[in-house]
Symmetry: C2
Subunit: 211 residues, 2 copies
């Protein structure tokens, strides 16, 4: 089943399912029907069944899905059954926010290094991790497993640092800089372009009362 | 033309065009053809023309588009010809990052208030704006124009604060909390779910070498 090409729209929706199933589990719910999940998530039940059918349907038996099993299956598809070592480039407010957010570690994303060029920040500890000078980046990547680099650098800096890291073998980038990285094939990039997100919001404000 | 229903996929792409056109303008470029824009943005020229045709095509004449005019037109569609007053709920690292980012003000998004419940943060200044106690929120919204509320609150708190703000007339939310807000119709919500973004990245890492 993993050989079948899944549409990116389905993939985009999977983390939301995972989030809801995690909450259900925290609230002690064992089983859920697609109808109930549909009501909670404000998605049609047929959409849910269609999405899940891409992965064989996750065996809905009797009354609905087993929440823990379903969460586990979706987690596996999302690669959450592995650990990822994350370095953060840039120890500004955004870098700090990422380093301090406990939810990432819970899902297997472990921050193992934080880098900055600012002498005032180098040597500080964030979430028990010492901020290292950018000049140490190359050696760090050579000596440690780095699965993901989170870039909270200025847009003028991010592409060159990403290129250097990709050449050193880092193959996944979580990019918060307001620019495209233009990295070679075989590298995964997830962009979080906050300014673009804000523009979509202003579009929606302007168009709220047009219908 | 503004009466025509534009697909959300096109709307999602507009901010990226806006970003590229802003950069071209900063670099002193007056005109650009769809072919050149296509090369820069790694999007097909026919995609660009199709997207622009939703808005009447933006009158490509002679050699390509006038960059400044095109940027202005797209900016108008995105509602960037107006100013927006933004309040930030939560003065943690993420709230600070948003308040300090100069790029937002440049596009007309003006942070006019920051709120927190933490006594250590209340009274501090971020980007020259004093952090106010959450108890002052209601009066602030009554006395000031608030177009957008950015929520950097814990997920357990965000929905109730959003509901309260919506009842006070705030009709746009930029939500960073890892939960859905479930607000009534007539309210615009733009979610930035960082944990979900990270899961899409891990999915891509796992599937990088499968093709």
């Amino acid at each position: 089943m993993s050989e079948k090409k899944i549409s990116s729209a389905v993939i985009k929706r999977l983390p939301r399912y995972y989030r809801y199933l995690s909450e259900l589990l925290e609230n002690g719910m064992d089983r859920i029907s697609s109808q109930e999940l549909s009501r909670k998530m404000h998605v049609t039940a047929s959409q849910i069944r269609q999405d899940f059918n891409n992965f064989g349907g996750f065996g809905q038996q009797g009354y609905g899905y087993n929440v823990e099993v379903l969460r586990g299956e979706i987690g596996k598809i999302l690669g959450l059954d592995q650990k990822y070592h994350v370095i953060i480039l840039g120890a500004g407010n955004l870098g700090r926010a990422l380093a301090n957010y406990g939810g990432f570690a819970k899902r297997g994303f472990i921050v193992s290094g934080i880098f900055d060029i600012d002498r005032e920040k180098v040597g500080q500890k964030i979430s028990n991790i010492e901020v290292l000078d950018m000049s140490k980046l190359k050696d760090f990547v050579a000596d440690n497993t780095v699965d993901i680099a989170a870039l909270t650098l200025p847009k003028g800096k991010a592409p060159e640092v990403a290129k250097e890291l990709a050449e050193l073998g880092v193959c996944a980038f979580w990019n918060f800089a307001a620019t495209d990285l233009n990295l070679p094939e075989g590298v995964a990039v997830e962009n979080v372009h906050l300014a673009e997100s804000l523009m979509r919001l202003s579009y929606n404000i302007v168009n709220l009362h047009k219908d």
